[in-house]
């Protein structure tokens, strides 16, 4: 079989292995970095240039002050001459470990030839101990995808089958992070990306739509996903996307290739909870949570929702799945004393509020009378009581307290978070309140030490995929007394100027039902409000928000998050 030439597909500019736990001391010596004179780190390495590196290749991608690259003849090099020249023995020297970390030889792409550099740091102890040998005995000349040419500080390798490496980004932060106890740390949201919600987005595939959301979030947080992010989380469901295993199709558009990433079958707050726990357990500093909807790709939405019903007790009976919401609305209104008029007021409030929100997809000057006049297809549930579907993507960047310090935006801290499932079986559920919201709220209130939910929050972003749900959730959260949410809606308490602004973003009724992304949408709108970046629908002085989400039919699970700015 023809031996293929050693091909270098310039691949990963940064092959970062992460997961270094901050508990570990990387720098063996305790002297402050930079205190000693003379070269503090020395890296021997070999670089083999390939014909297609046409332009002269700059060794360092940016001018790092006191760092130099010396060829084996001792001559300092700024650029490597062109075409096919080989540099079996280069030495890179610099004053401190900090300088060392600036060094990168980006353009040479994925690994080739002999690699691994020995790095001498501080007390002269060479890291890694014997890493000069090739990564694998009997390494054939097949392309070894494991390494590209980014210097790594390898602490204690010696592993005969593979070198263990420290991620540069982690190392930079790790220098300052020692002895982190979980629970102590605060976790904050430092970046928000929302694409405009639209009924159809034919110009985007699901990958391109997610890329659009992600690049906005990364710009907002001022981070590079390939360098700074330790873990990625996607909230998605196979049947909404049209795949057997949707997890396969998520990393590329988030910048998560060759990074830890997983899919949660839950809504945005469950995804945020994952990020919160991963950061709290100390193995990550920056996490990204993404969710999106390409509802316009789904031709049979009712068929998919019905497919979520219990296969032996409910599904065989047929019927449009919204009948479950019709039944719940009937049970809830009778038990709480709220009326269909109150629900119509919610529809009008949210769709009109959406007129001030540029990303909203279903903003409209709807009056309560219009909402009341719409056909009651699943009486008492009317057509306008149902949030219309929309395409859209929401991405949040979540950071530990340390990492949040140098973020571009004011961090919005997660003071409390809770999530719960009531029960999937329709028959044994409580149809009058929302127990999942109540249970999740009690968890979040305990964490945030909230004693009186009625007074604790300036604004709320509550799930409103069906109009009556906003009222039911407000009462389940304890921010409105039983049976009072309807009056608050009709009295205008829930508008931007009212006593308790709720869903001033327009909610799902005004912006659009973006399926699994609804939870993240609620969070994103609350973050923008607390940062004062909400624009024309900004509620002045909002510093504490309560955010609640529900997973939509036929589920009975949801989450609650308490967000705040300042100390």
């Amino acid at each position: 079989m023809a031996q293929r030439p050693l091909d270098l597909s310039p691949g990963w500019r940064d092959t970062e292995l992460f997961g270094w736990s901050p508990m570990e001391e990387v720098i063996p010596s305790r002297q402050p970095v930079g205190a000693m004179d003379g070269p503090r780190f020395v890296a021997d390495c070999s670089i083999q240039l390939m014909p297609w590196h046409a332009s002269p290749v700059r060794v360092l991608d940016r001018d790092v002050p006191n760092v130099e690259v010396v060829s084996d003849t001792g001559e300092a090099l700024r650029e490597l001459p062109m075409k096919g020249a080989n540099f079996p023995a280069l030495r890179v020297r610099g004053r401190s470990v900090e300088d060392y970390m600036q060094v990168s030889v980006p353009k040479l792409g994925r690994g080739f030839g002999k690699r691994g550099g020995t790095v001498e740091v501080d007390s002269g102890e060479v890291f890694p101990k014997d890493c000069a040998k090739p990564r694998h005995e009997g390494d054939t000349d097949w392309r070894d995808p494991l390494r590209d040419f980014r210097f790594f500080l390898d602490h204690g390798s010696g592993c005969n089958a593979g070198q263990t490496f420290i991620p540069i980004a982690r190392f930079r932060r790790a220098a300052g992070l020692a002895g982190v106890e979980s629970g102590e740390m605060k976790v904050g949201i430092v970046g928000v990306g929302i694409t405009p919600f639209r009924p159809t987005t034919p110009e985007f595939s699901w990958k391109e739509l997610t890329y659009d959301g992600a690049q906005r979030a990364y710009a907002d947080a001022g981070i590079d996903p390939r360098e700074d992010v330790d873990t990625f989380i996607t909230c998605a469901e196979d049947y909404y996307e049209g795949f057997g295993i949707f997890d396969e199709f998520t990393p590329d558009q988030l910048g998560a290739v060759m990074r830890p990433m997983h899919t949660v079958g839950g809504d945005g707050i469950a995804g945020l909870a994952n990020a919160f726990m991963i950061i709290q357990s100390g193995i990550a500093d920056i996490a990204v949570v993404e969710s999106h909807s390409k509802a316009s790709d789904i031709l049979t939405y009712e068929g998919i929702v019905a497919h979520g019903l219990d296969p032996i007790w409910n599904k065989p009976l047929g019927g449009h799945p919204n009948l479950i919401a019709g039944l719940e609305m009937d049970a809830y209104l009778r038990a709480s004393g709220n009326t269909t008029k109150d629900c119509a007021a919610v529809v009008a409030k949210n769709r009109q509020a959406a007129l001030h929100n540029p990303i909203a997809g279903h903003a409209a000057r709807v009056t309560p009378e219009q909402a009341e006049g719409s056909p009651a297809l699943w009486a008492p549930l009317r057509e306008l009581d149902v949030a219309p579907l929309a395409d859209g993507c929401v991405v949040l960047v979540v950071a530990s307290e340390k990492a949040a310090r140098n973020a571009r935006t004011t961090p919005v801290w997660i003071r409390g978070i809770g999530w719960a499932t009531e029960t999937p079986s329709l028959e044994t559920r409580d149809w009058t309140t929302s127990p999942a919201t109540r249970i999740a709220a009690s968890m979040a209130y305990a964490m945030a030490k909230v004693r009186n939910p009625g007074q604790a929050f300036d604004i709320a972003e509550i799930d409103d995929r069906f109009s009556y749900k906003e009222l039911q959730h407000l009462e389940a959260l304890g921010v409105a007394r039983k049976g009072q949410a309807g009056k608050m809606a009709r009295r205008g308490d829930l508008t931007a100027g009212g006593k308790f602004p709720t869903n001033v973003s327009g909610g799902s009724l005004g912006c659009g039902n973006v399926l699994e992304a609804c939870g993240l949408h609620r969070l994103a709108e609350a973050v923008l409000q607390l940062r004062g970046d909400a624009g024309s629908h900004q509620v002045d002085g909002a510093r504490n928000a309560i955010v609640q989400s529900w997973r939509g039919l036929p589920a009975a699970s949801g989450g609650v998050a308490i967000l705040g700015v300042g100390k």
Binding site: H53, R143, E203, S205, D297, G303, H307
Partner: protein
């Protein structure tokens, strides 16, 4: 523990017991139909296939020619730079000789299928496709192949506009 536990839960059934109704059951087929938006990159890719051409995108960040084309580079996380045509010849990176169809039913005439890395794109970048005009003993990794296009009027803008990849003949390289 596993030695202490005597009874392990689970009631096994045979195929007959379910299909003949010995145990009660319910049959169902969900209604789950889609029309995925191809989007920017795939719409152009399919249009070019219909014209009998294969197109890729370049990324100047990592100097790769990305095939199949994509509007962003997953490595550099930046928008890709330009459209560039790649050739319809390539190299077999790997292959299989399948005696199973898509529903795992046995077939006598094997399907030759594999991954072809396309000339003009960065190394190793290619697509899965059928192989033709070669026997199951001739196909091997490293073999140079060329696309066999369907006639223009039969092409609809699909990877099936290429019927299969056949061995590269002299002078085509």
């Amino acid at each position: 523990m596993t030695s202490r536990i005597t009874k392990w839960p689970g009631v096994e059934l045979g195929r007959k017991e379910i299909e003949t109704g010995k145990v009660t059951s319910v049959r169902y087929r969900p209604d789950a139909k889609f029309a995925w938006s191809a989007g920017e990159a795939m719409s152009r890719f399919l249009a070019e296939l219909q014209e009998g051409r294969m197109i890729a995108r370049t990324c100047n960040g990592c100097e790769r020619v990305l095939f199949p084309p994509r509007m962003f580079c997953e490595e550099c996380f930046r928008p890709t730079d330009a459209w560039v045509y790649v050739r319809d010849t390539g190299t077999i990176e790997t292959y299989s000789i399948s005696y199973l169809d898509t529903d795992a039913r046995r077939i006598t005439e094997p399907i030759l299928v594999g991954v072809v890395s396309v000339d003009g794109a960065s190394p190793k970048m290619g697509v899965m496709h059928y192989f033709g005009e070669m026997t199951k003993d001739e196909v091997r990794i490293g073999m140079r192949v060329k696309a066999k296009w369907k006639p223009r009027e039969e092409r609809v803008g699909s990877v099936l506009d290429i019927e299969y990849f056949r061995p590269l003949r002299e002078g085509e390289g």
